[in-house]
Amino acid sequence: MGTTASPATTATPSSFLSSPSFSLRASKSSHLRPTRRLPVNVRCVSSPPAADTAYTTKVSRNANIAKLQAGYLFPEIARRRAAHLLKFPDAKIISLGIGDTTEPIPEVITNAMAERAHALSTVEGYSGYGAEQGEKKLRAAIAATYYADLGIEETDIFVSDGAKCDISRLQVLFGSTVTIAVQDPSYPAYVDSSVIMGQTDLYQQDVQKYGNIQYMKCSPENGFFPDLSNVARTDIIFFCSPNNPTGAAASREQLTQLVKFAKDNGSIIVYDSAYAMYISDDSPKSIFEIPGAKEAMQDVVGFYKENTKIIVDTFTELGFNVYGAKNDPYVWVHFPGRNSWDVFAEILEKANVVTTPGSGFGPGGEGFVRVSAFGHRENIIEAARRLKQLYK
């Protein structure tokens, strides 16, 4: 015992002795029994256990997963948020980071779910395994609502548990030897799933890209649409419009270019239209569109659009260049010359607002921060106020 075992603080006396839990077990009899010997190896840990067992399996780690840089973007943001909360427990954090919705689901929808749940407790209403492609009625409804007049039928639709899962299943379908192109910046799952499937080479720190992926730069300078004449042929092209994170919605003319590019090269486009419902102007909502697409506006979407406007106005008034936001619930704010994780940390520490650093979406996101409009109106207004304070 030659080193300090206790932290370097002055303990107040009350905290030591009056704790009953620290008194030894007292013997009532006059003959004192010897205490049980406590093990000499007293283990004191102040962190979750590292594996101190010597045993490992002889299974090699999947080298593709080892290529991944850090954790997936959004759990990483969550970790930083948690660390911030630890340092400043009374901070009233507002999260405009992950695109997680906050408004309750309208009752007409939850009633339908509740009814079905209750029906599962009846003999007539119980259903077990469903068709893996999804219930016929739902597939038909999707085809009729979103793809009417586009030549898409119910049998072309596969209902899933979300786009993220579909991206990975598509990657499993394509296999390890296809080449892919992605927008830069873009939703991280296209790249990460590609790495996991072994389609890429190692990460190159200097350019912040994985080898063997075509990164198609989308920036203010090119109107957030890549110069396809500079893009090499790949088997697969992932294209998200309206875009996460930049908010850019490709025009009819641009999508026509994209489709021609793919046809000429014999490539497959994976078109991510997750934010199509937010389109305000007449940008195409579906890659399958031809003139005369149906319109579908919802109250909930309208609510997030108002939020988006508040955020856009806030940053614009502060003198920032702001992109996106017209056609999707993300505001893409330019912080020229600044490291996006630094800006993220600055906004979190000084304003207690969570955003998402642009470089998390690809090297083309460096110098930008994504601010999401998903939140309660009061929180959006409060966040706007704090941002005005911070950057006035």
């Binding site: 030591f16 009953p20 256990p49 002889k58």
Partner: protein, 586 residues
């Protein structure tokens, strides 16, 4: 080297007893307190302190501890570059402190001072053996059986606005389990220090164990507020929320891992006493999906072994991931190790003849054969995997169909399994969630790749990239199955119904003179139709009786010559089917 006297090398005994500065305090206290003679303060070995304390009565013990504590404090002052107070000052301090305790006690011991109430007191020296005691020194309160006790404490420096916290966990016998201490360089007040200590205690406990916990704090305010669920918006209320929440952001994985309450319920109810913690449970949308994600995790370059016959998902996902070559005429894929399970070997492979593979998929109770491996068989499997450095993926989707208490329901009942096995399971077959979609995977912390990296960490990465978590509504349903006796009893009844159906099937085929396997611990019966191709038998049964079964060869070449009949239907339908089968096959 002791920094106080500079004479000898320091150890604990020297620091608080022998060092001249320490000895001086003993002398000073001897004049006012009834404490042991210097000769009794002996260094008997590493446990000198316990040896000393055990010879003392309650009051002397308290006094000795206070002196030792004060000597240690003074020693620390020197170590950290502060000036040490003279012995006289320390003596006065100790006396005054004792007196404060007595004054508090004079008010019947229930008053709160600094948020603490006094439960014991000792007296100044009045002559040997004449200590007046009106209260017992409190016994350390033992936790109930099967529980652990965490004692937590925080200390606060009002000048530096810093805090130190500590937590110690002991079991029902008082044996040490583990302890932790943390330093905070930013703390508002003593109550916050106590709350941080509380959270620390919960945090380390939940990282280590799924056992229920009793948390002991000396801060009455804290205990009171937590019991009352005082969640006001003051900064303390926020701290209480922190205290009651676990630090999941850096101990658990992402939200894709599933709701904590469900993970805890699975760890505590299904893996009771197997050392599985909630952080090792990953909620999914079903075992089939987990199999695919596990294969993505393992990648293309692993070799796999499967039972033959077995659930086709393991093989098919392996093929899709590129782990195999082409299939031959019998349907066997090159590169997969097929472990024959047949009546002749009691449905357990002869592992001595099985070459090493990286991964072994093992389903028990088995789909389709219905065989539930014995404890001894699973021990063999775990030893085999250990010897080869392989990973077992143990599919326990049908564990709720196991009858009685003899057969294992989880691979983690086998010693050593934590270091070699992943277990997957599902709510499909015991809760009827086939359409609702809910399951889980257990990936223990000790499961490591050859290079020492954590399998769970990579699995979490795959889950976070390719999945967004199981449906919140489905998870709530899963929790209802587990967390109340009413829920558990309800699913037991449903399983019981299917097991009764299985009995009917077993009886029917047995009466027809067929070799029938499975059925006891499974909702499947595995019926031999020797000399016939199973697809032909399937076709015949379908045509002649309009009953759908499953041909055994669909589960692997080892399934040829068998038919799987499942008990998943209403009782009437099963009885009707059996009547038709009896007419046809008799």
């Amino acid at each position: 080297m002791c920094q106080r006297c500079g004479c000898v090398e320091e150890d604990g005994f020297h620091a608080v007893v022998v060092c001249p500065r320490a000895a001086a305090l003993w002398d000073a206290m001897k004049e006012v307190w009834d404490i042991p003679e210097k000769e009794q303060l002996m260094h008997t070995g590493p446990e000198w302190l316990f040896d000393l304390l055990v010879t003392l009565d309650d009051d002397a013990r308290a006094r000795v501890l206070m002196i030792i504590w004060r000597n240690w404090h003074n020693r620390n002052e020197i170590i950290h570059g502060k000036k040490e107070a003279p012995s006289e000052a320390s003596r006065l301090f100790l006396q005054s402190y004792m007196n404060s305790l007595l004054l508090i006690d004079a008010n019947d011991g229930k008053d709160i001072l600094k948020g603490k109430s006094v439960i014991s007191k000792t007296m100044e020296k009045k002559g040997r053996g004449s200590c007046r005691r009106t209260h017992e020194i409190a016994q350390w309160p033992k936790p109930p059986d099967g529980w652990l006790a965490i004692s937590v404490d925080g200390s606060f420096d009002p000048v530096q606005k810093e805090a130190g916290t500590a937590a110690i966990i002991r079991d029902g016998r008082g044996d040490f389990v583990l302890a932790s201490c943390t330093f905070f360089n930013r703390c508002r007040d003593a109550l916050e220090a106590e709350t941080l200590a509380f959270r620390e205690g919960i945090g380390i406990a939940l990282a280590y164990t799924a056992q229920p916990l009793v948390i002991q704090t000396d801060c009455a305010n804290l205990a009171k507020s937590l019991k009352e669920g005082n969640m006001d918006k003051s900064h303390i209320g926020h701290l209480y929320s922190l205290a009651l929440s676990t630090p999941e952001g850096y101990q658990g994985y992402g939200p894709e891992q599933g709701q904590k309450s469900l993970r805890k319920a699975i760890a505590e109810k299904i893996y009771l006493n197997m050392g599985i913690t909630d952080t090792e449970v990953f909620i999914s949308d079903g075992a089939q999906c987990d199999i695919a994600r596990l294969q993505m995790l393992f990648g293309r370059d692993v070799t796999i072994a499967v039972q033959d016959p077995t659930f086709p998902g393991y093989v098919d996902t392996g093929v899709i991931m590129g782990q195999t070559g082409a299939a031959d005429e019998s349907g066997r894929y090159a590169g997969i190790e097929y472990m024959r399970c047949a009546p002749e070997n009691a449905f357990f492979p002869d592992l001595a003849t099985v070459p090493r593979t990286d991964v072994i998929f093992f389903c028990s109770p088995n789909n389709p054969t219905g065989h539930a491996a014995s404890r001894d068989q699973l021990r063999q499997l775990v030893d085999f995997a250990r010897g080869n450095g392989s990973i077992v993926v143990f599919d326990s989707a049908y564990s709720s169909y196991v009858s009685g208490d003899q057969l294992p329901r989880s691979i983690y009942e086998i010693p050593g399994a934590r270091e070699v096995a992943i277990e997957i399971s599902s709510f499909s077959k015991f809760a009827g969630f086939t359409g609702v979609r809910l399951g889980w995977a257990v990936v223990p912390d000790e499961l490591l790749y050859a290079d020492g990296t954590s399998v769970a960490r990579d699995f979490d990465r795959v889950v976070c990239t390719s999945f967004n978590g199981a449906s919140s509504v489905a998870q709530v349903g899963g929790l209802a199955c587990l967390e109340t006796e009413e829920g558990r009893e309800a699913v037991r009844r449903v399983v019981g119904k299917y097991k009764e159906n299985t009995r009917v099937l077993v009886d029917t085929f047995t009466a027809l003179g067929k070799e029938v396997y499975g059925g006891d611990d499974s909702p499947y019966v595995w019926v031999r139709f020797p000399g016939q191709r199973s697809w032909d038998v399937f076709g015949e049964i379908l045509e002649k009786t309009h009953v759908i079964t499953v041909p055994g060869s669909g589960f692997g070449p080892g399934g040829e010559g068998f038919i799987r009949v499942s008990a998943f239907n209403s009782r009437e339908m099963v009885v009707e089917a059996c009547a038709r089968l009896t007419s046809f096959l008799a």
